[in-house]
Symmetry: C2
Subunit: 328 residues, 2 copies
């Protein structure tokens, strides 16, 4: 077996973000839970958009953000996700390729338009997301390129894919191919409500396949149906090789069977928009892990890359992250 | 005659900006002149985009940016411009309406897609623009709503419209309707190369119709075919009621037959992207003028609104400008 072609291949919902600022009453008026992700249909998406202010449009998608981040650090990456043949799909394709990632998933020929996520950023810089999955629901097992998965050291899966039955099958196929080829699998739990919706399935997947798990506190608590973080941390150490639990401004905890490492958040001059913080944390972490760095270095680089992304609107790096890679 | 319904109605190229950072060699490789606007066809636009990095997409268009700025200050505005029935067109329509402006120009039913401008921001924060006019070339005299023009105190025209014969006719019709209704007309010269291309037409238009003229130094020099700024300034005072000449970090000069006012640039913590600086200068100026402010206040508010826009990516305000309006 030769050297791996990719450090990380990601599979996720290929989404374009539509980002606008709004105040807290906007969230209340529209029944949104601050900081969470809500799935919306085309009609509700249109209704929310109609009331949003002028917006910035930028490629997003959780795993895609992570892959773009790893590419920006200098990692070799590939991405699997479904867009439609429209302006947003073209922008997504351009941006993920411009980051340096290989992206060859066939465009959906018909059906709903490219997915978009209406993101409201409140004055406290928190983001609240409303996702219209659109063309993402057309991803299928055929889109999972087995060669790409087998030639990647790590396959990275976003939990959001569990929200659609077809995407879930593609997701599980990718995990199986990776493990059968003795590659590693990483998973992000994505959102506490997503964990609530699919808890049993997540547990089964983690038991079978997952080597590296990313969660924030709320997601870790939701996974183990507890309000006690220590209990959730014990649970994580029992089920996966490495887990990273992010805690916003309080930093993060990196857990393995042998150790618990406390990581501080990187200092950020001004937090503008927390969209993508978790995704870019995973980017720094996985890049460092692929380079063979010890867990404390993985966590430290993760803090730096998350710090870059929250300093501006949007979930893709605005400047090349490569200089940060020198840190490990 | 009742009170005017609009403070300012703008007519311009309805464009979506696609903005990415790049270094100076990128400009050289693609034969771009830094700081200028170049018209490109669909093929060249695609070739440039393919080599650009991951981009932010945001509504743009010179007059549209100005109108959105005036609306954000609290002014009553309308906009006339042509988009196609695609994602970019929908985003443009949403954003201009979300700013508070009335926008009712019919969408182009067929023909080229919504215009986009590929903007390269170099490390010195200068923007270099490549415009594919697309659906803008479908604007016609039918799109100029005479009632809207007649019920606006001021009609604002962007010089860029002169680059397309149909748009030029629409533009001249709007100017005629405004003046016949004893309303004021403002013009932005847009770009020195645009002035070179259409110098005689601009002179004729200014002589016949223009009450307020916006130009940067290069455009003022180009209009009078001189390299002597004093000569250009004398020229401007001879042909129009009020002229504002912007000078980047050196501030601006506001000229009338009676006076020359020197305006300082507003202090900006960090210049990120100069896209829209001239457009938002015009926004502050015209809003103050509509409120009856003296020229020094018009220039000072213009400096503040231009200062907001160069502090972030994109040419539309990221925060409501209304607090700045208290300044006049």
């Amino acid at each position: 077996m030769g050297a791996d072609l990719y450090d990380v291949v990601g599979i996720g919902n290929a989404i374009v973000d539509v980002i606008a600022s709004a105040d807290e009453p906007f969230l209340e008026r529209h029944g949104m839970t601050k900081g969470s992700m809500m799935l919306v249909d085309a009609e509700r998406a249109a209704a929310i958009y109609a009331e949003m202010g002028a917006a910035i449009i930028a490629s997003g998608g959780s795993a895609a953000n992570t892959i773009a981040g790893i590419a920006s650090l200098g990692g070799r990456t590939g991405y699997i996700g479904k867009v439609a043949d429209d302006d947003f799909g073209a922008a997504f394709r351009h941006d993920i390729r411009a980051s340096g990632a290989v992206f060859a998933t066939p465009t959906a020929g018909e059906g709903p338009p490219t997915a978009h996520c209406l993101i409201i950023v409140t004055p406290d810089s928190q983001r609240t997301m409303n996702t219209y999955l659109g063309a993402c629901t057309n991803i299928g097992e055929d889109d999972v390129d087995p060669e790409m998965i087998r030639s990647a050291s790590m396959t990275y899966l976003e939990g959001y894919l569990y929200d659609d039955p077809r995407a879930k099958r593609a997701f599980e196929l990718a995990a199986s191919i990776a493990h059968d080829a003795r590659r590693k699998v990483a998973l992000s739990l994505s959102d506490p409500f997503c964990v609530e919706r699919h808890r049993a399935d997540f547990h089964a997947l983690i038991d079978r396949h997952v080597d590296v798990l990313f969660a924030n506190e709320a997601e870790a608590l939701a996974l183990f149906e507890t309000s006690d973080l220590d209990e959730a941390l014990r649970g994580l150490r029992g089920v996966t090789g490495v887990a990273a639990v992010t805690r916003g401004a309080a930093g993060s905890l990196v857990l393995s069977a042998e150790t618990v490492v406390t990581i501080e958040a990187a200092p950020v001059p001004r937090v503008v928009d927390t969209t993508g913080a978790g995704d870019l944390y995973a980017a720094g972490f996985l890049y460092a892990l692929a380079r063979g760095a010890p867990l404390e270095k993985c966590g430290a680089l993760a803090s730096l890359t998350a710090g870059e992304i929250i300093g501006h609107f949007g979930a893709r790096p605005q400047s090349a992250l490569a200089p940060l890679a020198a840190f490990i």
